[in-house]
Subunit: 508 residues, 2 copies
């Protein structure tokens, strides 16, 4: 009798499933507590708080790691191996197993060594960038590459280590699909940007020149958030040195920053972060702490921010609605027309060397340079000392510009100092996905452009909620995109979008 | 050989001590992370964040509890039982053992039941107070009294349960000493307040009448903090509905609130919280997370806030320095003299029924009413249904006023809805201790009053740092006071202080 009952339990496995879910909820709750501490550190914490905060974050991270890798997690997953689960439960187990196996495969000592190397590398990178001295950073970059290759080998010694690292950020999108999208982007964009450089189009680029006080910019950013419908009962807007979004379906906060010479920058970044927040706020509340209540991976998250930033915020329709608020906050801009704003917000900065200052088009070539270099570093096909020259050659080849210094070249980004290889591509993949999702939404929503022009975002919100947000991590990336758009994830919609938009703007 | 080595280890026990300390640091780090979440909840969190925040806090609390009560903690403490430790290490072990034994004695189920009862009781209390309906709250109060008696019985079935509960807040101050101090307070204050009521002294109480915008009050609060030397690189000032202090020696933040009709209220409460913060910021940084780096108990903490609020902030000397800032922020008060400010800040509100609005004198009778009632409830000497009448009788006897409603009577404070019995006395004990510490500092620092009048707080800070802050929980309460002042903790200095001060103010 007892044995039979036990066998029954394994077959539909409610007990093991519930026990696993309790554990998962608990570790994700600890993770979300760490998220609050991280937000506080970047937004509120006085400088002196750093030593205590580092220890608090490291304790929570190690507690969470211990929970994930606890042998009981493995035992419950084993028990669920042959269980007959609903599709939804099977998806939960799939996600938990993936996290468990990866965490379990890598020795804690190596994780700690990477974390310590990151602290040292961050300092070295800051100094190297300040002094334009790549050689000062090179040994730390080399150490990171070695450690991350070792890390990848623990996870799977038989696969391309870059692919394994990419999965830390995109666990369920194939490297092959990602590479083919990035290749297509490069092939589309290099000639386009070349044509734009040659074009004699005369865009209204000096529409918003002047000084725009941060305080008024903040009011305008709040106007924009009110317009698109950010729920301030479940969020906040604050200022931080790098804009970011942090939180969950109950409380998801965004930050922005203000450049007094560039009022469009804060509008763009605020709407961008709003798109991230809207995703988290749209996750099912009942499933908080389980994979069904967690967002899918970085490309999907970036698709939400880029959809709002680019396809809404950079559209003529949006500016028809928003320009009066701009005029009201900054009466000195009252002569600017919707067309002026549209052109100013969409000009291509073909001579810009800095990724975070790039426009919607050139941005992806900045990414592709980084992707190709980090991939070759991790695969062992590129030596550390050759990074600056390869970087500069690629900028020249893809963007037609050559960085005069490494500070404005291969030292400009923080990511490699954290040992994050495989992260950069997710930015471009997210933009590409945004175009595909927006095209599908546009096809299903009547008069979407008119609605945006009227400040009515309800149908778009509902479409995104239904097709993306509500699913959490239920579907793997390509399946999510396919269910939402009817097509596999590809660069087609993005290519159509940029060709139409920039063809018209620059007459190319 | 192995056995001998093991025996050696036990005798000076470095390994067990270090292992214990690692555990303690870890659980206190988790506790301090929860503190950040608590601060955020009260100061920054949007309303919608509550469900996630409750779960985060409850997870961290349960993780911390599991670490404390883990059998390894008990085993290490056992191993250290006969160890030959330095006095400092012995103090650490004493503090850890006390926490372990208390946490270990009470079944988790009971802790959870108390926590659930608190949630229900809080709602019931809010409704009862809004509707002036004690009977609605009575069953929850009764349940809390029962549960807390049970809680005390688990800890020590042979002792007065109120004494056991008091130790949750004052683990190392004897109930006997506390009661004798409170008795002496009552005997001193009841006739004094009676005499003040009869006095025909004409204090300048309408000096600061008018409307004082919150924004300017905040600037003035920052002036006050700058004057006393709050380190904004290790702290923040924010607004919350109830002022409080939260943090550690690296990052200790205060909050205040503003009543536009009462600019002195915010000054008093800001300086009060500053005193709390100054204590935490003065704890040794190297010992953070160990008992040597944690503050002593509630009465000692309150002694630091009350010392700054009452003995500095309410002094003539302070106003000599601070009044110009007041005039500058609020030019309409420019006719007010130091004496006017001193009288306005020190008037006795003999008809006030509300504890949190009480002055420096009547405050303690509000406390003593609560202390006597909660003690009798827990000891089984008072029935729940008799609380309102006993409350009102005591107000009449001690303060000469009778609350017209229970909302302004026994329902005014939140503490009992949390099941906190034994907390109230610590407020008065802290004020009494403040007087004793200030008297000692005044005796040792040359011209302290002149220094305060000159805005020079360095010697006072140094004295408090040396005599109180730097010791953490190294000494038990009475020993700490005795080392700092040369005397056992008693009400003598407080009695001398109020008799001199109010004798002069009211001519009594």
């Amino acid at each position: 009798m007892a044995t039979e009952a036990a066998a029954d339990d394994v077959s539909d496995a409610p007990e093991a499933y519930d026990a696993l879910l309790d554990r998962v909820r608990r570790w994700n709750t600890v993770g979300s507590a760490a998220g609050v501490l991280g937000w506080d550190q970047q937004v509120m914490m006085p400088e002196g708080g750093t030593p205590a905060r580092s220890k608090q974050l490291s304790a929570l991270s190690s507690i969470r790691h211990d929970m994930v890798t606890d042998e009981e997690t493995g035992a419950l997953l084993d028990e669920l191996d042959d269980a007959d689960l609903s599709a939804e439960r099977a998806a939960v187990v799939r996600e938990v197993r993936r996290e468990y196996e990866r965490a379990d495969a890598v020795p804690v000592e190596l994780v700690e060594e990477i974390s310590e190397t990151s602290s040292e590398a961050l300092q070295a990178w800051e100094q190297a960038r300040a002094e334009d001295d790549f050689e000062h950073f090179a040994p730390y970059l080399e150490k990171h590459v070695e450690l991350k290759r070792e890390y990848a080998e623990h996870i799977d010694p038989d696969r391309d280590p870059y692919e394994v690292l990419f999965e830390d950020f995109e666990p369920c999108l194939s490297m092959e699909r990602a590479e083919s999208i990035l290749d297509e982007l490069r092939e589309t964009l290099v000639p386009m940007i070349d044509a734009i450089r040659e074009s004699d189009a005369d865009l209204a680029v000096d529409t918003f020149e002047g000084t725009f006080p941060a305080e008024t910019q903040e009011e305008l950013a709040r106007d924009a958030l009110d317009l698109v419908g950010y729920d301030f009962d479940r969020g906040r807007l604050d200022v931080s040195s790098h804009p970011f979004t942090s939180g969950n379906q109950f409380d998801c906060r965004i930050t922005t920053r203000f450049d007094e010479a560039d009022p469009l920058g804060a509008i763009g970044s605020t709407i961008h972060e709003y798109g991230h927040a809207q995703y988290n706020l749209g996750l099912p509340q009942d499933e908080w702490g389980t994979p069904l209540g967690e967002s899918r991976d970085l490309s999907v998250h970036e698709s939400q921010s880029r959809l709002w930033e680019n396809h809404v915020g950079r559209s003529r329709a949006f500016w028809e609605q928003f320009l009066p608020a701009f005029h009201e906050r900054f009466p000195e801009t009252e002569d600017a027309t919707v067309e002026d704003a549209y052109e100013a917000f969409n000009q291509v900065h073909e001579d810009n060397l800095i990724r975070v200052e790039a426009d919607e088009l050139t941005y992806h070539l900045h990414i592709i340079v980084r992707f190709e270099i980090e991939r070759d570093l991790i695969r062992g096909d590129l030596a550390i000392e050759d990074v600056p020259e390869v970087w500069n050659d690629k900028y020249e080849e893809y963007l037609g510009i050559r960085p005069p210094t490494d500070a404005d070249g291969c030292l400009q980004d923080i990511h490699w100092s954290h040992g994050n290889f495989g992260y950069f591509p997710t930015y471009s993949l997210g933009s590409v996905m945004a175009a595909q999702l927006f095209e599908a939404a546009d096809g299903e929503i009547d008069d979407l452009e008119d609605k945006i022009a009227a400040g009515d975002f309800e149908d778009l919100q509902a479409w995104l909620g239904e097709n993306v947000h509500q699913h959490g991590s239920r579907y793997e990336t390509n399946e999510l995109v396919k269910r939402a758009t009817g097509e596999d994830f590809s660069a087609d919609a993005f290519t159509d979008y940029v060709e139409a938009k920039y063809g018209e703007l620059y007459g190319i």
